[in-house]
């Protein structure tokens, strides 16, 4: 097992610049998720780590060793692909055993390892089958088995769950994380699904347009997003943004947007008069009989356990999550309570977090 270090990594595909000055370190044993929308460079970064793309600029080190010129097979990594990439002409057993066979391990050793991996992944009954005879979830597990048997220093996952249905995805999420807790192998996991990132990661690296927007634990990213992009990307339903400015009347700082006025904590760093964007998570908005803000109901979506209420406040959209059922007709007027401690303030010009 090993740490992975990125230093000033950059990449262009022809004239297209896809990555700029990526520098961060993944400590040994950590489960790190690279999170971002499509085209943000996360998969390219993973493929550079695997050796499938050249490292044109900067340096990638695994276990302290420079990897720029090292062949994929010598990097001691294992990768699970989005589309599994199983070997269709080989049986499950040989699929899992392939890497050990080409490395000329003894037959006894190979059998031991394959059986260990199959046991771990509940694949033992399927070793004699071909990939086409397996379900999606089983194929996914074969792909993981292929990575496991090598006991690599680093696991690389490239959106491994995106081809599974929602229920299976939830289950595999849990299984992958449990496997990591058991094997403690350093893992880099690429996804665009913030739920996967939040539930599985030790650390999340949020990327956009080839740049890192924020690195932190899931809690840090959720509680203190570095900018509007991160705040918007994390959390479901996504965060509400209200544009307004900071008022400092009478020594009590407040956020003012049209008729909405929300008191701010006294220690906030925003200057009076500053134009800001205020981020409010839907769970921090509650609908009440009495409250600070008046709003009009636009739409109510019930998910069963909770209701998502789309509201209109002074022409700005606002979402609230209400526990249980919320019965209201579109057009009804209600009052909102907003938890002032949960406000996120961002500078209106550069969208960076204030304080």
């Amino acid at each position: 097992m090993a740490s992975v270090e990125y230093e000033n990594v950059g990449k262009s595909f022809g004239p297209v610049r896809v990555m700029e000055n990526i520098s961060f370190t993944i400590a040994d044993h950590r489960f790190v998720v690279l999170l971002g929308p499509s085209g943000c460079g996360k998969t390219t970064l993973l493929r550079m780590t695997a050796g499938l793309e050249s490292i044109a600029e900067g340096e990638i080190r695994i276990g302290g060793e420079r990897m720029n010129q090292v062949h994929p097979r010598d990097r001691d990594i294992a990768m699970v692909f989005q589309n599994y990439a199983l070997y269709p002409t080989l049986k499950v057993y040989d699929n899992i055993a392939f890497s050990l066979q080409v490395r000329k391990h003894s037959k006894v050793e190979i059998r031991k390892q394959v059986e260990w991996a199959a046991e771990l992944l509940n694949l033992s009954p399927y070793l004699d089958r071909y990939p086409k005879e397996l379900s999606g979830g089983q194929r996914q597990r074969v792909a993981m088995g292929r990575a496991l048997v090598r006991h690599p220093q680093v696991f690389l996952f490239d959106e491994p769950l995106s081809n599974l249905d929602a229920k299976l995805r939830g289950q595999m999420r849990y299984e992958i994380r449990r496997l990591h807790d058991r094997l403690q192998t350093t893992t880099i996991y690429v996804t665009h699904d913030q739920i996967e990132a939040m539930t599985m990661a030790d650390d999340i690296v949020v990327m956009r347009d080839g740049n890192i927007e924020q690195i932190g634990t899931p809690e840090e990213i959720y509680d203190r997003p570095a900018n509007c992009f991160v705040a918007d990307f994390i959390g479901s339903p996504s965060i509400n943004f209200l544009r307004g400015e900071v008022r400092g009347d009478g020594g009590v700082p407040a956020f003012q947007s049209g008729s909405v006025a929300l008191p701010l904590p006294a220690n906030n760093a925003a200057a009076p008069g500053q134009a800001v964007i205020c981020g409010i998570r839907p769970v921090d908005v509650s609908v009440a009989a009495e409250g600070d803000v008046r709003a009009e109901v636009v739409l109510v979506e019930s998910t069963g356990a909770e209701s998502h209420v789309l509201l209109s406040v002074d022409g700005q959209e606002l979402r609230a999550v209400v526990q249980g059922r919320y019965r209201a007709k579109p057009g009804e007027v209600c009052a909102l309570k907003i938890n002032p401690a949960a406000l996120h303030l961002f500078d209106a010009t550069n969208e960076q977090r204030i304080g």
């Binding site: 994929p72 097979r73 005879e133 090598r150």
Partner: protein, 291 residues
């Protein structure tokens, strides 16, 4: 689609009509090979009932089926005996197909998987070699072959047929390799396999269908190729299409013998296609990746 009984019958009739249209010339050619000379051109044509004779086959294969004995000589003085010529055709078609497929498979895999400077130009260049009509290079080829001592040799003809087939084979096979997901190669490379092992053990078995289809095309080309065999051979060897033309002489045409040779020539090609056909199945990559 649900069809009424009338429509079903109509469809069957139309299908049979098309099949008959294509099969009839072959059938008629076969009947010519077993007709007596005087009945070949009888008016009205005898399509179904005629007197049969194995004479044409006996002469072409130099065997006696108990009717007549010995070899005959063509009206122009040439030889009827064609067994060695069939053998020439088989050797040349099989070897040139094998050569073209071996080289084209490797080239196509490289073009499909590896990136190098000028790759698109390279693919276009390969294709461009087929843009010139072969007859334009036949005479220069003759001189080149004469200088290199390749005239009238098996390897000379095998070489030119393989060369002619290569561009098409490379492009066809490249598209088959392109259909095989690159991630399989990448997974295997990470697993520790060398490029060649990936090719041999994983990609090649998946490309079998495409290779079989390409081989059939190459074989048929070589089997029917006329121009280069005509110009690049003299007496040492001749393939079936070229010797067929020798039945046309200044004093007459041996239609029966020509038909007998033509009929016999259908068989090896037919057998070859049957042999590779079992590989012409799709879905060999099924189960590898989720599309």
């Amino acid at each position: 689609m649900l069809l009424s009984p009338g429509q079903r019958i109509l469809r069957a009739v139309a299908a049979w009509a098309v099949v008959m249209l294509f099969a009839f010339p072959i059938y008629y050619w076969v009947t010519v090979s077993i007709k007596l000379d005087r009945e070949i051109f009888s008016i009205p044509p005898k399509v179904f009932s005629f007197e049969t004779s194995a004479k044409s086959y006996e002469e072409v294969f130099g065997i006696s089926l108990g009717f007549e004995q010995g070899l005959s000589v063509l009206p122009g003085g040439g030889d009827f005996y064609m067994t060695p010529r069939l053998w020439d055709s088989i050797v040349i078609a099989v070897c040139s197909t094998a050569l073209a497929i071996v080289i084209a498979t490797l080239a196509a895999y490289a073009l499909s998987r590896m990136r190098f400077r000028g790759q698109h130009h390279f693919v276009f260049w390969i294709l461009s070699t087929r843009m010139m009509p072969p007859v334009a290079v036949a005479i220069p080829m003759f001189f080149i072959y004469r200088d290199f001592g390749l005239l009238d040799t098996y390897h000379g003809v095998i070489l030119i047929h393989a060369l002619m087939n290569m561009p098409l084979a490379v492009l066809l096979l490249k598209s088959f390799f392109d259909d095989i997901p690159k991630e399989i190669d990448e997974a295997a490379l990470i697993d520790g396999a060398s490029r060649f092992l990936v090719f041999r053990k994983l990609v090649l078995p998946m490309a079998m269908g495409g290779i079989a289809a390409t081989a059939v095309l190459c074989f048929i080309f070589s089997w029917t190729e006329f121009l280069f065999v005509l110009t690049l051979t003299q007496t040492g060897l001749k393939t079936v299409p070229v010797v067929s033309s020798t039945f046309v002489t200044s004093t007459g045409t041996a239609w029966g013998n020509m038909a007998a040779l033509g009929t016999a020539a259908i068989l090896p090609a037919f057998i070859f296609i049957l042999l590779v056909q079992k590989n012409l199945v799709r879905g060999l990559t099924l189960g590898s990746v989720k599309q």
